[in-house]
C-alpha cells in the first residue's frame, strides 16, 4: 500500500511540471525516479527512455506503466498511469472552471513565458542519453553521430525516427552480443 501511494505521489509531481509535452518532461522523470526515489539506476533510466521511444505513447505514460510494474506489479502500473492522467485532467478542469473562456492573448503570453523554461528542460533531457551513450563505448558514440548525420541528410529517417531507432536496436543487439 505504501509503495502505491509513493508511486501515485511521484508521478503526480511529474505530471504537475510536465509543460511542453514529450521530451521536456525527461528531467522531471529522471529526478523523481532516479534521484528522489532510487527506483531506477541511470542506465535503467536510459533503458526506460529507449523503450518509450520504440513504443507508442508519451514517455511519461510509458515510464509510469513500466516503473509502476517494476515496483508493485499490475496494481503499481495502474496506480502510476492513473496518477499521470488524473492530475492533468484535474488541472484542466480547474482552469476551465476559473476561466470561462481562455483569452487567446493571455494564453499566448503564458506560453511565451514558459518557452525558455521548456527549452532549458529540453536541453537537460540530452544529458542522460548522451552520458549513457558515451559510457557504452566508441561504437554507440559513432552510432549517435551517424544518426545525427542520417537525420540531417535523409528525409526518410527525419520523417520516421522510430524506424531509425528499431534499426539501431537490432544493430545494437547484434554487435553487443
Amino acid at each position: 500500500m505504501k509503495v502505491l501511494l509513493e508511486l501515485a505521489f511521484s508521478f503526480a509531481q511529474i505530471a504537475v511540471g510536465a509543460f511542453g509535452g514529450g521530451l521536456s518532461t525527461l528531467p522531471l522523470i529522471e529526478y523523481q525516479l532516479v534521484k528522489a526515489t532510487g527506483w531506477l539506476t541511470s542506465s535503467q533510466f536510459g533503458q526506460v527512455l529507449a523503450l518509450s521511444q520504440v513504443t507508442p505513447g508519451p514517455i511519461a505514460i510509458n515510464a509510469a506503466t513500466f516503473v509502476g510494474f517494476q515496483q508493485a506489479g499490475i496494481p503499481g502500473s495502474i496506480v502510476s498511469t492513473l496518477s499521470i492522467v488524473i492530475v492533468p485532467v484535474l488541472i484542466l478542469c480547474a482552469v476551465s472552471c476559473v476561466l470561462k473562456k481562455l483569452e487567446a492573448e493571455k494564453s499566448r503570453k503564458f506560453k511565451d513565458m514558459l518557452r525558455p523554461i521548456v527549452a532549458g528542460l529540453l536541453t537537460l533531457s540530452l544529458v542522460s542519453p548522451l552520458t549513457v551513450t558515451v559510457k557504452n563505448g566508441v561504437m554507440t558514440m559513432a552510432m549517435l553521430v551517424i544518426g545525427i548525420l542520417l537525420m540531417r541528410t535523409c528525409k526518410f529517417f527525419k520523417n520516421y525516427p522510430p524506424l531509425l531507432l528499431v534499426i539501431y536496436g537490432i544493430i545494437g543487439a547484434v554487435i553487443f552480443s
Partner: protein, 177 residues
C-alpha cells in the same frame, strides 16, 4: 462523434503515434480536419488550452475533445482510448524486459536505441533552443536559470521551474511599467 467513436478515434491515433507530444496533436488535427461538427476556431482554442496546462498532450487534447462532443462521459472515453494502447503495450513488455534485461541481446538493443534517441533529441534540442533564444534576447536568462538549478545544483525540477517562472513574472511586471 458517439462515445464509442471517441474512444476508437483516440485509441487508433495513440496506438500508432510514437513519442507523444506535438506529433499526437498533428494526428488529431488531421483526423478531425474533414469533420463538419467542429470549427477550426473551436479546435484551435482546444489546442491552445491543451498546450497551456501540464501533463501529456495526448491526455489534455483527448479530454477536451471528448468533452466537446459528449461531456464528461465523452472525456473519459477519449482519455481511455488515448491511454490504453501505450499502457497495454508496456504492461505486456515490462515482465519480458525485467526478466531478460540481464542478457546481452536486450542490453545491446537498448544501447543501440538509446544512441539513436540521443541523435533525435540532439536535433530537437538544437532547433528548439536556437529558435527560442533568437526570438527574444531575454529568454537566455530563464533558460540558464533552469539549466543551472537542475543540472548544476541538482535542485528539484518543480522548484527550479517555479523559480524561473517567478523571474519571468517579475520581468513582466517591470516591463509593463
Amino acid at each position: 462523434m458517439t462515445i464509442f467513436q471517441l474512444f476508437l478515434f483516440f485509441f487508433r491515433i495513440s496506438a500508432v503515434t510514437f513519442g507523444g507530444g506535438i506529433v499526437i496533436l498533428g494526428m488529431v488535427k488531421l483526423g478531425i480536419a474533414d469533420r463538419k461538427d467542429i470549427s477550426d476556431t473551436e479546435f484551435s482554442d482546444m489546442l491552445s488550452l491543451a498546450a497551456s496546462v501540464p501533463g501529456p498532450l495526448a491526455v489534455s487534447i483527448s479530454w477536451l475533445l471528448g468533452r466537446y462532443y459528449r461531456g464528461l462521459k465523452g472525456s473519459v472515453a477519449a482519455v481511455a482510448g488515448a491511454v490504453l494502447p501505450p499502457f497495454l503495450i508496456i504492461l505486456i513488455l515490462s515482465p519480458i524486459i525485467l526478466k531478460y534485461s540481464g542478457t546481452t541481446e536486450v542490453q545491446g538493443f537498448f544501447k543501440g536505441v538509446l544512441a539513436g534517441t540521443g541523435a533525435i533529441i540532439t536535433m530537437v534540442v538544437f532547433d528548439n533552443v536556437r529558435s527560442t533564444l533568437s526570438c527574444e534576447w531575454w529568454n537566455i536568462v530563464p533558460f540558464v536559470i533552469v539549466i543551472a538549478l537542475i543540472g548544476v545544483f541538482g535542485i528539484n525540477p518543480l522548484l527550479s521551474m517555479l523559480a524561473a517562472f517567478l523571474v519571468q513574472l517579475i520581468r513582466e511586471r517591470l516591463a509593463l511599467r
